[in-house]
Amino acid sequence: MGNSAFTSRRQRRAAVLAAMFSLLAILAGCGSGDSQSTLDEVKDTKVLRVGTEGTYSPFSYHDPGTNQLTGYDIEVITAVAGKLGARAEFVEAPFDALFASLVSDRFDVVANQVTKNAEREAKYALSAPYTVSDGVIITRTDDSSITQLSDLQGKTTAQSATSNWAQVATKAGAKVEAVEGFTQAVTLVKQQRVDATVNDNLAALQYFKTTGDDDVKVAAKTGDTSEQVFAFRQDDGELRDAVNDALNQLRDDGTLASISTKYFDRDVSIGDAGAEAPDQSGPTRSTWELIRDSAGPMALAAIKATIPLTLISFAIGLVIALFVALMRLSSIKAVSGIARIYISLIRGTPLLVQLFLIFYALPALGLTFNPFAAAIIAFSLNVGGYAAEIIRSAILSVPRGQWEAAETIGMGYSTTLRRIILPQAARTAVPPLSNTLISLVKDTSLASVVLVTELLRVAQVAAAPTFQFFALYGVAALYYWVICLVLSLSQHRLETRLERFVAK
């Protein structure tokens, strides 16, 4: 989806992790020794497993009214599955995670406006196009200085850095400001910070249809077209061919055109669909209505995912940390060495990479965890590494005489630790451990890359079809802040309790 300006942040992350994907592909390649082809499996089980973002309106998103997954891509692949005699079963994941999940066999096909390019053709089996889009230039409505691509010479445009459209704008002589997504690009245009943004006509169509924004307009076409396709694992050519047959049938019987018209008021499954703003059908919902409708599902995600992920991971992480800290304090070199290596690995690698490895790489070794479990494991190990050093230094802060006094009373190592040392070390450890806990609350937003529907993910899902990213991210931020506030208050109470035996 190189042409979608919605997704640049995700694209950048994906780029960072590209090397890992290749590794995963190799690992998965080694593991896929099963005799049955994916096509046979789909026919046997009557299920086609589909990976999609669920936050990419109008292609793959949740209807704000019903919260059902819907969209152009969703309907097309559902129809395709029907032709194959199967039912489409959807797995939602951020764009970063889609290809990794495809390769590690968590689903069979990616239906998410994947743009056809040479790089992808080399790595995956790609279907025939089911969307063809044109490049358009968007300017302020009152700006008449740009009427064709060459007018961008000397102008400034806002683009996702890694998108195809950034290259198009650069070639035309424009200076490109890198932004995170389409909404941000349009905002910069409206604020007169840049002159224009280049994107595909479908994104523009949807934007106008949803927002009713008349401060900006489509000023010109770029003349480029791009084709969007379904992506399969490289060795699934058979399934791809079957899907192509299905697409042809759907094209012939008019199904594709009718699905397309429903979303875009025209047929985008063939080229040159145009970019004039369609009728503004459907009521535009106010920001407040959107926030009101989304606040509940977001709170639910916080209660069902963010908070349990945080608390369970932190509890397990503390246990790991205690053992690692004690190992690190061991006089046996091999034992303390293992602890050192563990701490070094955890602290020296990005949490995102740890999540990816546990969820996507371990299955190649025969260890498959469900998303929630994988997230718990990754976060627990992460907390374990950081908290181990905190606990170690807290234990060292307890005077030696305390160990001796306990020893002379006849206490063994573990009794001394439990009854004498840890209660005193806790006082030193609580403030830095609280920092770790509060960081963890926000780190759980990374769990969406391993398919956990947590708070931020729900905000993305709600924002996607409405372009109200700022409002919904604001609500998400508020929720995170409230959770952290409650934790800070409990930290304060705990500290007061632990200070009771210390002279003020």
């Binding site: 006094a405 002379t408 006849g410 009771r500």
Partner: protein, 260 residues
């Protein structure tokens, strides 16, 4: 032990130490230490710093492991020449209780809990009984009203008296005091020494490392003068403290009693 607080009666040897050697790296701190302590007597160890007094005391409680030598307390005998088993060290340790220079009370436990934690957690005695006994011990050291306070709320002398009660609660055969008054303000020294004197009067077997020569003269049955890792002179307090035979002992006493 059937009675509440074991107060062993005097008469026969309770402690034997033979040929204790201990080196910390290159530094030899004990170079062959032998002595006997009879039940119900008070033995005071004196000597310049670094002479090995504290190491002797800590060896008796197995906080320090001598490189060689034999320690016997009561019917527990440990030969440090062979690698002693953990169980034997624990048995030896259970014979005695230690009062530290820096009291080492547990700051997160109340005064009463400091005293009961050993008997309840380690010795597994019933909590109610231990509590009653702890209250009596606190009364004995003059701190009955402080049971529910935390150590930081007490003065240095009071903290040290709690330290003594904590040791007594373990019902040891032997009480070890490692410079119990050295860290105290001078005006607080008296209250601690008074408690110790009372214990001696009750017939407790005690070994005390101290620089309080007057205490030694009035309470000790036996004085050991250590220097350079050996016992240079030993005997009754009148002999060692009033009429020492060794020039080193004389010099040391002179420095202590008349420092200017």
């Amino acid at each position: 032990m059937s009675q509440d607080i074991a107060v062993p009666s005097g008469g026969r040897s309770l402690v034997t130490a033979k040929g204790l050697h201990k080196a910390f790296g290159e530094l030899a701190v004990l170079r062959g230490v032998d002595f006997e302590v009879d039940s119900g007597t008070v033995t005071v160890l004196i000597g310049p710093s670094g002479s090995g007094k504290t190491t002797v005391l800590r060896s008796l409680n197995a906080l320090e492991r001598p490189d060689a030598g034999v320690v016997r307390i009561g019917d527990v005998r440990v030969d440090f020449g062979q690698e002693p088993a953990k169980r034997d060290l624990a048995a030896l340790r259970a014979q005695s209780a230690m009062v530290f220079q820096g009291h080492n009370l547990f700051p997160h436990l109340s005064v009463l809990e400091n005293i009961t934690v050993g008997p309840v957690v380690v010795q597994g005695r019933p909590e109610g009984e231990v509590r009653t006994e702890a209250e009596r011990l606190l009364d004995q050291v003059g701190l009955a009203s402080k049971a529910e306070q935390y150590p930081y709320q007490l003065s240095g002398g009071q903290q040290q008296r709690v330290g003594i009660a904590r040791a007594l609660a373990l019902r040891p055969k032997l009480m070890l005091f490692d410079e119990p008054t050295s860290a105290l303000d001078p005006e607080l020294v008296g209250e601690v020494l008074t408690v110790m004197k009372d214990l001696a009067g009750e017939g407790w077997t005690m070994m005390v490392v101290t620089h309080e020569i007057r205490f030694a003269r009035s309470v000790a049955d036996q004085v050991l003068f250590m220097d350079g890792g050996i016992i240079l002179e030993q005997g009754a307090p009148e002999a060692v403290l009033v009429d020492p035979q060794q020039p080193r002992t004389r010099t040391f006493l002179h420095r202590i009693l008349d420092p200017i």
